[in-house]
Symmetry: C2
Subunit: 225 residues, 2 copies
């Protein structure tokens, strides 16, 4: 199941038609690219299994990770506009995606208003997500950024019916830092600090949120201290 099929008011028949346009599955091993910058756009990809990151690099090598995608997320929405992918998508671990040819999807959107509506919700949601990252990068201090990151991850797991208090960070400290506009060292200092303050339990890349309320308050801007 992925973002495109889940919470739409589709009939069984419609679901089947959606299934039919979902193309071949593709395995992407850890560290491999699903697509690269400037690759021509033909398809969206629904993550079935695993974890991805998307990132841009300017010509002087400065990298910015623009998102982490987990099972259920849709990759490639940013490529529709220009007809080429504006970023790299790389698997953080061995992963599996479904290809969804954009041309076929378009056909189906026309035939299925509920799906159209849903597709727009997904795209709009991506715009909202990026706006909140802008807010994070533009106005928050380091501890607040990191708290917001954890709260957001937790919420995404919860939305998928997975453990939301206890999960694994599938990305490295460096990748977290990059996403949050911070350095690996800053993340590395934040972790023991949050632990000391009783917010988290940390075992390497495994995290347990001990005080969700306080973490949320911190993320929401309860003056970082």
């Amino acid at each position: 199941m992925h973002q495109l099929c889940l919470p739409t008011g589709l009939t069984a028949d419609e679901m089947e038609r959606l299934d039919r346009i979902i193309g071949r599955r593709r395995t992407v091993l850890r560290g491999e690219a699903l697509y690269r910058l400037d690759a021509p756009f033909h398809s969206l990809y629904a993550v079935r299994l695993g974890y991805f990151k998307t990132y841009q690099a300017d010509r002087h090598g400065a990298v910015q990770i623009t998102g982490f995608q987990m099972a259920g997320d849709l990759l490639g929405l940013d490529a529709i506009g220009a007809g080429r992918h504006p970023c790299d998508a790389v698997a953080l671990e061995d992963s599996e995606v479904c290809e969804i040819a954009y041309a076929s999807l378009q056909q189906l959107l026309i035939a299925m208003p509920a799906l159209l509506r849903h597709f727009h919700r997904v795209m709009s949601g991506e715009i909202m997500r990026e706006q909140s990252v802008m807010q994070l990068l533009g106005t928050m201090q380091a501890p607040q950024r990191f708290a917001a990151f954890l709260v957001n991850l937790s919420a995404r797991y919860e939305a998928r019916g997975m453990a939301s208090q206890q999960f694994r960070l599938h990305m490295s400290r460096e990748e977290i830092g990059n996403y949050l506009g911070l350095t690996i060292e800053s993340i590395s200092r934040l972790l023991p600090r949050f632990k000391r303050e009783g917010l988290l339990r940390i075992d390497n890349r495994d995290i347990e949120i001990l005080d969700p309320a306080r973490l949320k308050a911190l993320a929401a801007g309860a003056i970082a201290r």
Copy 2:
């Protein structure tokens, strides 16, 4: 003319049908809101005249401007997902918009594949724009951010066939700074510096780009110095 009608391969008949769903015009005076946070979403708005800013505020009052919209831009795409507007949209000067009821638009998208395709391009373009702001906020230093901001404005004017070397900053220093994750003071120091370096001519809010190539190089990451 706005983003939705311009570069689509629509027939004259199709153009007319698009025109017909475009609802009443609405004037928004300087400082007034086109819509507010949490207002229910019914329509998109095409800016016909003037200038807007959109911004989010967290509960502790930290504001982040997420975009500046000029004639031809589309407002409200971020509201489709949740059915409410996730930000405020405020006019920077006396402005005029066209209302486009989303329900009617949906009908038309189904009937006009070229328009559907185009609408997706516009949404996808918004995602790309926000990604480049993420890159800006996440990796660039102050002078590079400001240069990128000016280059981007210039490109938008050029795309509209307006003077791209010489234009007016319709937003205050404070608003520029906020958008770029900087303070008003930083912007205020950057301006004379760019002038000293022969990049700009500045007269209050009127700007002339004297050395577009060097400004672009700076924006692209030619080590800010």
